[in-house]
Symmetry: C2
Subunit: 291 residues, 2 copies
């Protein structure tokens, strides 16, 4: 499918913090856009700018050439794709569906297989870069599925992100995102322990950050979340509860692959302790509270 703002109708499902910005970029690029999300009011701003509201996934799917979704949990993805009112039963033959939710690689493979029977192409294309990346259209997008379909959809990805990489067959985008979350998980423990140590040792932790942030200990987490930890700014860029969802998918997937991940296990345990303390709606930097 050759896409262009002139002839391609885009349907967008899920207008959360991420989806709202991403759909906005698509609209701004001149595509005809219809939207659906659980809470109607979340669509108001986009509708004012020209998006068309659809009151069901069924209608949205039937009226779109490309259907993009970014919702909460794998069970939400399964629902919008597999229900009788969902994408697979209602999208036209030849349409493309792109799930950008961080979700289960096995589910992505299942959706790809079932959609093929319906003549629909599915890509799994989770993102990294958070609310800021979504707002600035600088998301990293990791894509799994048929490569020609990826190539066709590239102009659309470029409207939302910067570092857009084809990773392989269906599920590969999700697997890549899991690798991403696994690297972050144990890394966050290191960041918290290092800054907690600096404080306990009587150092000025901001000065410590200026020493260690640029060298071999440097990381996105240390340099971006470290300063928030030190200011006790635990406002969510990325929710603790969503990170736990991702770590759970990753841990299950690693177990299925026969891979031992003690760092991931430790991180998940610590984050679950954080939830026990009532912090599930904090940002992931709230892990610092435990130290």
């Amino acid at each position: 499918m050759q896409i262009s703002p002139e002839k391609t109708r885009i349907g967008f499902i899920g207008l959360g913090v991420m989806g709202h910005s991403m759909a906005g970029h698509i609209l701004d690029s001149g595509y005809a856009l219809c939207v659906h999300t659980r809470t109607r009011a979340r669509a108001d701003g986009l509708v004012k700018k020209g998006a068309v509201w659809m009151d069901s996934v069924r209608k949205l799917a039937a009226n779109s050439d490309v259907i993009i979704s970014i919702v909460g949990y794998p069970q939400d993805v399964a629902q919008i794709y597999l229900d009788a009112d969902g994408i697979l039963e209602n999208a036209a033959t030849g349409s493309v569906a792109i799930d950008m939710t961080t979700s289960d690689p096995a589910l992505a493979r299942k959706l790809a297989a079932q959609s093929r029977e319906k003549g629909i192409q599915v890509l799994d294309a989770p993102v990294s870069g958070g609310d800021l990346g979504a707002r600035n259209a600088t998301l990293s997008i990791m894509v799994g599925g048929e490569e020609p379909v990826f190539t066709d959809m590239l102009p659309l990805f470029q409207v939302m992100g910067k570092n857009i990489v084809y990773q392989g067959p269906a599920g590969s985008g999700q697997h890549t995102k899991m690798a991403n979350q696994i690297a972050i998980a144990a890394g966050m423990i290191g960041v918290c322990e290092a800054l907690a140590y600096a404080k306990k040792a009587g150092l000025d932790p901001d000065t410590v950050l200026s020493s260690i942030g640029q060298g071999a200990a440097g990381s996105w987490s240390l340099n971006n979340l470290g300063p928030r930890m030190l200011k006790s700014d635990f406002a969510p860029g990325f929710y603790v509860k969503h990170f736990i969802k991702d770590m759970t998918i990753a841990a299950d997937s690693a177990r299925d692959l026969g891979l031992d991940t003690p760092g991931l296990t430790l991180a998940k345990t610590l984050y679950e302790r954080l939830v026990d303390n009532g912090c599930e709606n904090d940002g992931t930097q709230a892990l610092f509270k435990l130290f």
Copy 2:
């Protein structure tokens, strides 16, 4: 003490991979340099370029205005400073000693206290940036001790490094380096697990790196050691055995401060397992072998 290449005699103890490059930069900057190290042959190149060999710490200390050391372990530092033939007994009143070994913060405080009684000033100034940072004079240097002494010695630090930060009273340089190593420790687990997951999931791990290296999972370790892991290049930039030394100091120090560091503990356990497999002289990226 105002220092300058014209009037300041530098003594350098410890010509390992790091020290050899650092001493070379001092010599190249025009300072009179004398050197001592355990293995005489390690000094040959520098002596050819004009450095003067000293066959004991005693002689080196007695003939230097500023004495720099970067040796292996805290016990080596204690020996060159505290022995009857060592720095404190033999350096002239008014001289400055700078220990750049990654060593024990408590030892650094002890050396500072004892040197003060002798009229000698001591700084603890461990570095980060590895062999490459030493060679290119881009080391990060974290300094503890009296601030006016730090200010006096700044021109000398600038010959060896780039990101040079005064961190506070004696021991603060070492504490900062410990925070650095603590951040690296758990982070390395995340890097290994992420790349091992990518391989097990059938992805091309180099392509995965191109997706995850620049975003929220990005870190110096992932981007610099990740590619070496994937090529099974375990040659030492930074030795496993030295990292274990650092983690041991950090863990002891954290315990003394009453700080729980489960990520550091896990990393230390895994690296010790690596040593059990005979990998103590590999580079730290060899942790990947366990996954």
